[in-house]
């Protein structure tokens, strides 16, 4: 019996038992669909994070207090404005440095109020951390030096506080003090879960006074040349190392920020894929189960086929092909449903989903492999049936 003949016989058998075949296929469909969908969600999350980190801009180094590790409580920062100035001086043309402190504050205007993130920044922040100005201007050196009470608003902060009115030269109140709005930032969207558009920027020195502290949370260093970024990091380490212990600060490149988050998300994707894999396995066991039932229900048919001259491998192949065809159909339907659902999730829900080719190929491959693996046992059993006993079976 040729392979084509086996497929034909298998398809006939599958068609003859529509309901049972359908239910069997359903198990595989759900398994494959879960793999494709969950891996898409994992990849989608990773893509969002990657985009977020890349949004910070290239050649960026982040200097944060403490060591950047899991299980490590956030460290209270000891950096000061002096460190920003020192670093700037030491790095010169090689890099620009900015610092920031942030706190949640209630911000009011004549027309609105919002509890939002107020960030004290140095003048270079707009360029170093990529905050393009939409209207007006950003904070300048003299604003910082004199702790002038001026503010730049993120796009949605401006909208929330002033509605449609042009906020430039209007007043906002933060912590009981009035600030004059001098600019607004282009809409940026959110990155790494932070809504950057709702932020309000004021001079670092004014913020320190407002929050009652003398330190800076985070330093940002943007290298002028990508090739020199390691060198810049070294200089930063030297300069800060004179003042702090090596465990009191850490320098993170974009890759390192992405590395940590990326590792979490890769693990997450793997875990999701593994969970989905389990459902695929369960689907496979279902196929095996049904095939065993099928073999035992069709014992007489097998006996007859043998009496009529079917050889053991031909019977085995018939049932194996049947299992593979069932799983193949399940795999195709599952992949299609998974891709469809991923698209729907990405489009119509907040869950990001990005279908990856490897997951589709893998899931389909695994489902066919499941057909082979879980089909072999029942198929061999069918092939080995003794025709004499098989024919006698009622």
């Amino acid at each position: 019996m040729s392979f084509r003949e086996s497929v034909r016989v298998a398809l006939t058998a599958i068609r003859a038992n529509r309901l049972r075949s359908g239910l069997t296929v359903l198990g595989v469909v759900i398994g494959v669909m879960s793999v494709v969908l969950l891996v898409a969600v994992g990849s989608g999350a990773r893509a969002v994070v990657t985009a977020g980190v890349e949004d910070l801009g290239s050649n960026l180094l982040l200097v944060a207090p403490g060591t950047f590790e899991f299980g490590q409580a956030p460290t209270r920062s000891q950096f000061t404005l002096g460190d920003v100035e020192d670093l700037s001086r030491q790095l010169g043309e090689r890099a620009r440095v900015a610092g920031s402190i942030a706190s949640g504050e209630r911000v009011r205007s004549d027309t609105g109020a919002a509890f939002t993130s107020v960030i004290g920044v140095t003048a270079d922040f707009t360029d170093v951390v990529n905050r393009p100005i939409a209207r007006g201007e950003f904070l300048n050196e003299s604003d910082i030096a004199t702790a002038r009470r001026v503010a730049v608003l993120g796009a949605s902060a401006a909208d929330g506080l002033f509605g449609g009115i042009d906020p430039i030269a209007r007043q906002i109140t933060v912590g009981g003090l009035r600030y004059r709005v001098i600019g607004t930032v282009e809409p940026l969207g959110s990155a790494l879960g932070v809504d950057r558009d709702s932020q309000v920027y004021i001079p670092l020195t004014a913020a320190q006074r407002l929050f009652g502290i003398r330190t800076i949370d985070t330093l940002f260093v943007r290298g002028a040349d990508r090739a020199d970024l390691d060198g810049v990091a070294e200089t930063v380490e030297q300069v800060l190392g004179e003042r702090f212990g090596s465990d009191e600060f850490s320098i993170l490149s974009q890759d390192e920020i992405l590395g940590v988050a990326g590792r979490i998300l890769d693990t997450l994707t793997l875990v999701l894929a593994a969970i989905a894999g389990i459902s695929l396995l369960v689907g496979g066991i279902g196929v095996s189960n049904i095939m065993l039932v099928s073999v035992s229900e069709r014992t007489r048919e097998i006996g007859l086929r043998k009496a009529l001259g079917a050889r053991t491998p031909e019977i085995t192949r018939q049932f194996l092909v049947e299992a593979i065809v069932l799983c193949g159909i399940g795999g195709l339907l599952g992949a299609a449903t998974g891709i469809g659902l991923s698209y729907v999730a990405d489009r119509f829900t907040p869950v990001p989903a990005q279908v990856t080719g490897w997951s589709v190929a893998l899931a389909f491959g695994v489902s066919v492999a499941v057909g082979v693996i879980f089909g072999v046992f029942p198929a061999r059993r069918a092939g080995r049936l003794d025709p004499v006993t098989a024919l006698r079976r009622e």
């Binding site: 019996m1 040729s2 003949e5 016989v9 006939t12 003859a16 007489r300 048919e301 007859l304 086929r305 043998k306 009496a307 009529l308 001259g309 079917a310 050889r311 053991t312 031909e314 025709p387 004499v388 024919l391």
Partner: protein, 245 residues
Amino acid sequence: MPSASTPDTVLDEASVIAVRDVTRSYRVGERAEGVHALRGVSFDVRPGEFVAIVGPSGSGKSTLLNLLGALDRPTTGTVHIDGSDVAGLSDTRLARLRNLQIGFVFQQFHLLARTSALDNVALPLIYAGVGRRARAEQARAALEAVGLGHRVDHHPTELSGGEQQRVAIARAVVTDPRILLADEPTGNLDTATGNDVMGLLERLNAERGAALVVITHDMEVAARAPRQIRLRDGRVERERRESPA
């Protein structure tokens, strides 16, 4: 045609079936002592001969049928079918022997449900490696030979018992075998239909020259055969020929 080349062949060149001192015992449970279904049976069937094997239930008829049908091998003794010693053939060769040289007719017809008469008849041809178109042609011819040329597309459930058995007979002769083995072919049919079916088998036996071995406990059916072999307790009790050979 098989195989003058098969190494240990041919006891009697003229026999299509040669059974020599055959015993067959089955192990039952853990007992070392098996059940002896056949206890030393010998006989020959010549090409084109019509033989009835009769005996009460438990006499070893079914065991003998399995041996004659190359579905089973003897415990001791030899069974030659179409010149080949069954004990010396691999499973694959046995399957091929059944496929090409033996046509089975069963009491329960054993037709595939949800499968047309034509496809049922064509089934042995699939395993013989015959192409699809040739299969359909040969199956159609076989159905015409049993008088069911007008029923090719009908499914077994749409056919009467007699018609189903005739489909099964068409299936048995479609590969043009040298031996037709019928196991209680009229057992599930009323007398008139049973007579028709026997008539059909006899006609095919005469026309095609295939040896016809009918296993039955129905004495009327057995009486139609010129030669009867009576089994009792696993032995040939009596052999009777109507016309001297």
